[in-house]
């Protein structure tokens, strides 16, 4: 079989005329978007939670995008979920866990070099104490631990960078 003949089988010679130039296909009209069901307040609350700072234009776009996806998920309504368990993990057996033993780790300097700012063997973070505490978001306080104890924080960083989970 020769390379030259084979692909021509799929050329639409019989079905359509060949054009010298690509025909200018009329652009299909934009598909209608779903009605807005997500409020700007909800988007901002999610942004606060996810620690993002979207601009007002981005909030508007996100309202529409989220509404689109939620409308898309309406197709679930036609399904019967009685006695259907939830699949939340991809893992299947046999997946043995490794032994709980300390293994050699990467060079401390490699880990520290990845922080945005460091000094000696500590991560440098902006000063966050000294004024009114932020009660709105408890996690902020926890993360500030890095200021006091560089190595703890690094252990954490090691874990997140190393393990895909």
């Amino acid at each position: 079989m020769s390379i030259d003949e084979e692909p021509y089988k799929h050329r639409p010679l019989e079905k359509e005329p060949l054009f010298d130039k690509e025909p200018e296909a009329p652009k299909p009209p934009p598909k209608p978007r779903a009605p807005l069901v997500v409020s700007a307040e909800e988007v901002l609350a999610c942004a606060q939670w996810a620690r993002l700072d979207p601009s007002p234009e981005e909030v508007e776009a996100l309202r529409q995008d989220l509404s689109d996806v939620l409308a898309f998920a309406r197709s679930f309504d036609e399904l019967d979920f009685t006695d259907v368990p939830k699949t939340k993990y991809g893992a299947a057996s046999p997946c043995p866990l490794r032994g709980d033993v300390v293994e050699p780790q990467r060079a401390f300097s490699t880990l520290l070099n990845n922080s945005p700012a460091s000094q000696d063997r500590f991560l440098v973070v902006p000063v966050v104490f000294g004024g009114a505490s932020d009660n709105k978001d408890k996690n902020d306080g926890n993360s500030a631990d890095g200021n006091r104890d560089g190595s703890d924080d690094n252990a954490d960083s090691n874990q997140t960078a190393e393990q895909a989970d």
Partner: protein, 559 residues
Amino acid sequence: MDEPENEPASELASEPEDEPIDTEPLTDPSVPYGTPPEQLNRPPEPARPPFSSVADLVAKVRSREMSAVEVTNLYLTRLQYYEVRLGAVVRITREQALAAAEAVDEKIRQGADEELFLAGVPVVVKDNLCTADCPTTAASKILEHFEPGYDATAVERLRRAGAIVIAKASLDEFGMGSSGGFSTLGSCRNPWRLSDMAGGSSGGSAAAVAASLCMLSLGTDTGGSVRQPASFCGLVGLRPTYGLVSRFGVIAHACSMDQVGPMGRYVEDVARAMQVLGGYDPRDPTSLAVEQPDYLAACEKPLVLDDKPVRIGLPKEAHEAISDPLLRDVFETAISRFADNGATTQWLSMPMAKHGLAAYHLIAAVEAASNLARYDGVRYGRRASLAEPTSDEEVLSALYKRSRQEGFGPEVRRRIILGAYLRRFGHKEDLFGRACQVRTLIAREFAQAFEQCDVLLLPTVPIIGFAVEDTPNVPLELYQTDVFTVGASLAGLPALTFMAGAVRTTTTTPTSPVGMQLIAPRLQETLVLRVAAVYQRLTTFHKLEPKDYLDSEEDPFGV
């Protein structure tokens, strides 16, 4: 981690500094895509590599007909030359590659090459797989200077087999995208047709193999990110069973579906890569402890299972969903090729599959929002510079928010917000829970289908490709290209795309490859490889080479 803690500070200070990482800048990034060759002031066009397959290259290197260094130089020259037009890689690792090639040559000289199953094979690795000798960015600003300092297991295994990592491939940021256009580092073009996207998210890995800038590449597949670009670029791309290839060192997108997969030009090339990649890894808690089959041997077997013809199932709904007559034509021709050559084919109904896309995007968004919470601008990654804060209490919150807002691209932010929304406001309807139930239903539907057939055949992507300017800017429209690939992702099944045909709409437009997908039951990689290898023996499509990226812009068939 106890070790550094207990050591006195002085010893730490005397620890040798990590060598600065020597990576070569890409060829003049200011030159725009599509610049005519005569304006480029370039050296003569590099020759095509003289290897017919990965096996051929390995044999030549191991018999010392060519050294690994020579091979590496040859591919580095091509990479340097064509990269400017394709945008396939984010970083070329010339020095590291040449050093690794030297080490492979040394092993061969000493006769210690039994394990070098991929001796001297140039590979490109998607930039969300960690590499010890160069930064890993996931194409995100937030990780622009991240140096993992270790190899992902998949990369480590390739290197141990003698493969040479010559570059890190471009991708959609954190693997989120279906176009190759959501990268902070520019979009990746399709070598078959430069006006088209290479696809995503492993677009760079696919474009690099298609343009012979490397022999094999690694991508990651969450919802189709290996199969879709491999299909657009006329390659073989395999998504292995979830857990078969270790995820250790993969920058997470959606953990319950992420999987590393190889891409190559021929089925045998991909099988050879799987021979090295598969296998239990204690560092990945979801890694499967199963015996590895002989993937290469599977490529030589006929379409017969237990003395019966292989039964190929054809999802009716997939056929109905194709609107492009050319794509339908290729699908139907592929079916008849299999039917004429010993397989039995039968149409099946899989009505649940259409819900897969919504379920996939809800689940992936929730998992991505959790996975990406770790990037805070404090422990590693990019930190935003803060303007004068108004009060103490705002400092930390602003630091996180600005670092993340500036560090993540628009598609990543969109998915994080969607994930946050589903967890925070989705409770009313438990959308995430229902998506997880749909996942169960889809897995059941696959199980039922596999009672009637051995393997499923359907197109990989519902379109043949999309031009850069036609890339949909409405996310939901772009997500539609994943409709045929998310099923195997949700169910954790092995799926392989292979080039089943080539089409072109007019005599003046370049040819576009068309991929078909095979899905098999869990851990039946050998079956999809076997069926695709039979197709390759029956046709010559896989021997076509893209030419649109060359200076001499010839169509493969001439006009």
